[in-house]
C-alpha cells in the first residue's frame, strides 16, 4: 500500500510562506508529478513528505497514519536526489545495501534484494565499483537501485534526471516509466520540466508561488488548463497569448486588437456574453494555428508576417508578427515559408482558450 494524503499543508521559512495550503490525495500505485518553476514550493512539499523538513501546519498521512512527527527513517519511503547523493566511500553494492543493513535485514536477504535490483536496472556488473568510477547514467541507476531494494511504500524523486544530458534523460525517463509499471509502487516526482511531467505522471500537480494551480491528468491540463499560468507552462512551444477586447457586432462576438479581428465561435461566445466591452486574453496553442487555405471558411483567420522560420524536420516553428504582438505556430513541414512572407493564418476555433485579463483564470 502507499496512499499519501496532504491536508492543508503550509510551510513558513523565516517569514516566507513557501507552501500555501496544499491539499492532495495520492492514490496507491499512482505516479504523481509536481511541476512548476524553481522556487514554487514543489521540492519543499516533497521534503515535507520525506520528513526532511518540518511542517508548519497541516497533516501528512501515509496509509491513514499521520506521519507529521515521524523521522524520515520511520516513514517507509525511499528518495532519489537530484545529485544522486551516492555514498562516495562505498561500493555500489554497499550503497544499495546500506538501507537494508540499517534495518537489520539478514545477509542472504540483502544479497538477494541487491542482486534483483541490480538486474532490473542492468548494473549487475558494476556492484564492486565506487561511485566516482561510474558515468552519470550509471550513478542515476545506482541511486534508483538504492531506493528500490527497500521495497518502500512510496518513492520520492527530486528532479532525478536534471543532471543527465538530454539524450540520456529521455532514455531514463522511459526506464523510470517501465520501472513504475513493473513495481507498481506509489511515486511522487518533482520536476521543473513539463515534458517529464506530461510523460511520467498519471496525474500532474502544477504549482506556482507555493500554491497548487491545478491537479489533473496530463491531457486534462493540456486541453483545459484552469488558468493562464498552467496554459503557458504545459506544452512546448508555449501557448500564444493575445490580449484582445470583446465587442459585439451583428449578434456575434468579435475579439480584436490592433492587428487582429476574429469572429469568436458560438460556444466560446456563449461563455463570453458577460465580458462584452472588456479585455480578455485569448490563448491558442502553436499546433492549432495553420496556414489558411480554402477549406478554412469556418475558422477565424488573420494576417501575419513570418519573422523566424525554424525547420525541425517533423514540423516548422514559425515566429510571426501579428499586429504589435508575436505568435508562434507549429505548421506542416511541407509548407514552404520564407522569412518576411505575408501569410494568412487560420485558428482552429474549437481549441480556443479564453482567460480573464486580470486574474488569468480560464473563462
Amino acid at each position: 500500500m502507499g496512499q499519501v494524503v496532504l491536508k492543508g499543508i503550509n510551510k513558513f521559512y523565516d517569514g516566507v510562506h513557501a507552501v500555501k495550503d496544499v491539499n492532495l490525495q495520492i492514490r496507491d500505485k499512482e505516479f504523481v508529478v509536481f511541476v512548476g518553476p524553481s522556487g514554487c514550493g514543489k521540492t519543499t512539499t516533497l521534503r515535507m513528505i520525506a520528513g526532511l523538513e518540518a511542517i508548519s501546519s497541516g497533516d501528512i498521512s501515509i496509509d491513514g497514519n499521520v506521519v507529521n512527527q515521524l523521522p524520515p527513517m520511520d516513514r517507509d519511503i525511499a528518495m532519489v536526489f537530484q545529485n544522486y547523493a551516492l555514498y562516495p566511500h562505498m561500493s555500489v553494492y554497499d550503497n544499495m545495501a546500506f538501507g537494508l543493513k540499517m534495518r537489520k535485514f539478514a545477509k542472504g536477504e540483502i544479497e538477494k534484494r541487491v542482486r534483483d535490483a541490480a538486474d532490473i536496472l542492468g548494473i549487475g556488473d558494476l556492484l564492486k565499483r565506487k561511485p566516482r568510477q561510474l558515468s552519470g547514467g550509471q550513478r542515476q541507476r545506482v541511486a534508483l537501485g538504492r531506493a528500490i531494494v527497500r521495497h518502500p511504500r512510496v518513492f520520492l524523486f527530486d528532479e532525478p534526471l536534471s543532471n543527465l544530458d538530454a539524450k540520456l534523460r529521455v532514455q531514463m525517463r522511459v526506464e523510470l516509466k517501465k520501472l513504475h509499471q513493473r513495481l507498481g509502487t506509489t511515486a511522487i516526482y518533482v520536476t521543473h520540466d513539463q515534458v517529464e511531467a506530461m510523460t511520467l505522471g498519471d496525474r500532474v500537480v502544477v504549482m506556482r508561488d507555493g500554491v497548487v494551480q491545478q491537479v489533473g491528468e496530463p491531457l486534462e491540463l493540456y486541453h483545459s488548463p484552469s488558468n493562464k499560468f498552467v496554459a503557458g507552462f504545459i506544452g512546448s512551444p508555449a501557448m500564444n497569448f493575445v490580449p484582445v477586447t470583446v465587442t459585439e457586432a451583428n449578434g456575434s462576438l468579435i475579439a480584436e486588437n490592433s492587428g487582429l479581428r476574429i469572429k469568436l465561435p458560438v460556444e466560446t461566445a456563449q461563455r463570453l456574453r458577460g465580458h462584452i466591452g472588456r479585455d480578455i486574453t485569448l490563448g491558442v496553442r502553436p499546433e492549432d494555428l495553420t496556414v489558411a487555405n480554402s477549406a478554412d471558411v469556418d475558422n477565424p483567420c488573420f494576417d501575419a508576417v513570418a519573422e523566424v522560420v525554424e525547420q525541425l524536420g517533423s514540423e516548422i516553428l514559425l515566429d510571426m508578427k501579428v499586429g504589435d504582438g508575436v505568435m508562434v505556430a507549429s505548421i506542416e513541414p511541407t509548407v514552404r515559408v520564407k522569412v518576411r512572407d505575408k501569410l494568412r493564418i487560420a485558428m482552429r476555433s474549437s481549441r480556443l482558450h479564453v482567460f480573464d485579463a486580470g486574474t488569468g483564470a480560464a473563462i
Binding site: A50, G51, L52, P71, P72, M73, R75, I77, A78, M79, F81, Q82, N83, Y84, A85, L86, Y87, P88, H89, F98, G99, M102, R103, P131, R132, R146, R150
Partner: protein, 283 residues
C-alpha cells in the same frame, strides 16, 4: 614558442623561484651542516686560514652521540611524542564533533558560538599562559605531561573545530538526508557516512594539530621544570645553552632530529592532506 620567451622564463620564473628556494631552505641547510661539523671547525674564528662556513670535509656524528648519551634527548623525544599525540587525539575528537554540530545542527546561537570559538583561537598564547599557569598550579599538574596535554587543546580545539566546520559544510547535505531516509539515525549517519567522507579533512586537522603541539614552546617552557619532563624544543634550548655558551653542534642535531617526525608525518599524509585543503568531495 617565440624567440626570447626562454630568457623571459628564466628571468621571471626560474630565477625568482631559485632565490625563493634558497631563502627558504638555507636555514635547514645550516642546521644540517652545523650538526655534522666537528667542534674544531665550529668554533674556529672567521679570519683563520681555512675558514669555510658552508662545507665540511670531516663530517661527524659526535653531536648526535652526545645528544643521546650525555643529555636526556631520547626522553624528550618520547615526552614530545606522547604529549603531541594525546593532545591531538583529544582535540580531534572534540573538533570533529563540535565542527559537525556547528555546521549541521540548527540550534540557537550556533553562528555566534562558531565565531566565539574562532575568537578564542585568536587570543595570543603569550597572554593566556599566565592564567593557565595559575590553573595548572591549583590542580597540581605542574611538571607533568598532563599540564600540556590539557592546555594544548585550548588552542587546538578551536583550530580543529573551525577547520572541520568548513569541511563538513562542503559535504553535500543530501548524503546525510539520504542516509536518514535509508534508516540511519543522525548518529549513525554521522558515523557511517559523514565522518568517512570527511577523512581528508580530519587528517589535515590532525596533522596541523600534531605539528602545532610538537613545536609548541611557551607553555612547555612555563609548565615543565625538571629536565626529564621536558619536550624537545624546550629541552634542547634549555639544556644545551648553558649560561652564554651555545653548544651549537648538539643544538642543531637536536633541532634536526626534532623536525624529522613532523616531516615524516607531512609526507606520509601529503596526498590526503592536499585533497583535504582543497576540500574535494566527490559526489
Amino acid at each position: 614558442m617565440i624567440e626570447g620567451a626562454l630568457w623571459r622564463k628564466w628571468v621571471f620564473f626560474y630565477a625568482p623561484m631559485a632565490l625563493f628556494l634558497l631563502f627558504l631552505l638555507f636555514p635547514f641547510y645550516w642546521m644540517v651542516i652545523t650538526s655534522m661539523r666537528p667542534d674544531g671547525e665550529l668554533y674556529r674564528p672567521w679570519n683563520s686560514i681555512n675558514y669555510n662556513p658552508f662545507w665540511t670535509w670531516k663530517p661527524t656524528l659526535d653531536h648526535v652521540r652526545y645528544l643521546f648519551e650525555e643529555t636526556l634527548f631520547s626522553r624528550w623525544l618520547w615526552n614530545t611524542t606522547f604529549i603531541a599525540l594525546a593532545s591531538t587525539a583529544i582535540s580531534l575528537v572534540c573538533g570533529v564533533f563540535a565542527g559537525y554540530a556547528l555546521s549541521r545542527l540548527s540550534f540557537p546561537f550556533a553562528g555566534s558560538l562558531g565565531t566565539g570559538i574562532f575568537i578564542t583561537y585568536l587570543v595570543p598564547q603569550t597572554l593566556l599562559f599566565i592564567p593557565l599557569a595559575e590553573i595548572i598550579r591549583n590542580y597540581r599538574l605542574g611538571d607533568t605531561p598532563w599540564s600540556l596535554i590539557l592546555t594544548y587543546p585550548t588552542f587546538l580545539i578551536p583550530f580543529c573545530t573551525w577547520l572541520m566546520m568548513g569541511y563538513f559544510k562542503a559535504v553535500p547535505r543530501e548524503l546525510e538526508e539520504c542516509a536518514r531516509i535509508d534508516g540511519a539515525s543522525r548518529w549513525q549517519a554521522m558515523l557511517y557516512i559523514i565522518i568517512p567522507v570527511a577523512i581528508p579533512g580530519i587528517l589535515s586537522a590532525g596533522i596541523f594539530a600534531f605539528t602545532l603541539s610538537w613545536n609548541e614552546f611557551i607553555y612547555a617552557l612555563v609548565f615543565l621544570s625538571s629536565p626529564e619532563q621536558k619536550t624537545v624544543p624546550v629541552g634542547v634550548t634549555s639544556e644545551l645553552i648553558r649560561g652564554d655558551v651555545f653548544f651549537w653542534g648538539p643544538l642543531m642535531a637536536g633541532a634536526l632530529l626534532g623536525s624529522i617526525p613532523v616531516a615524516v608525518a607531512y609526507s606520509f599524509f601529503v596526498e590526503h592532506y592536499v585533497s583535504g585543503l582543497t576540500g574535494s568531495v566527490k559526489g
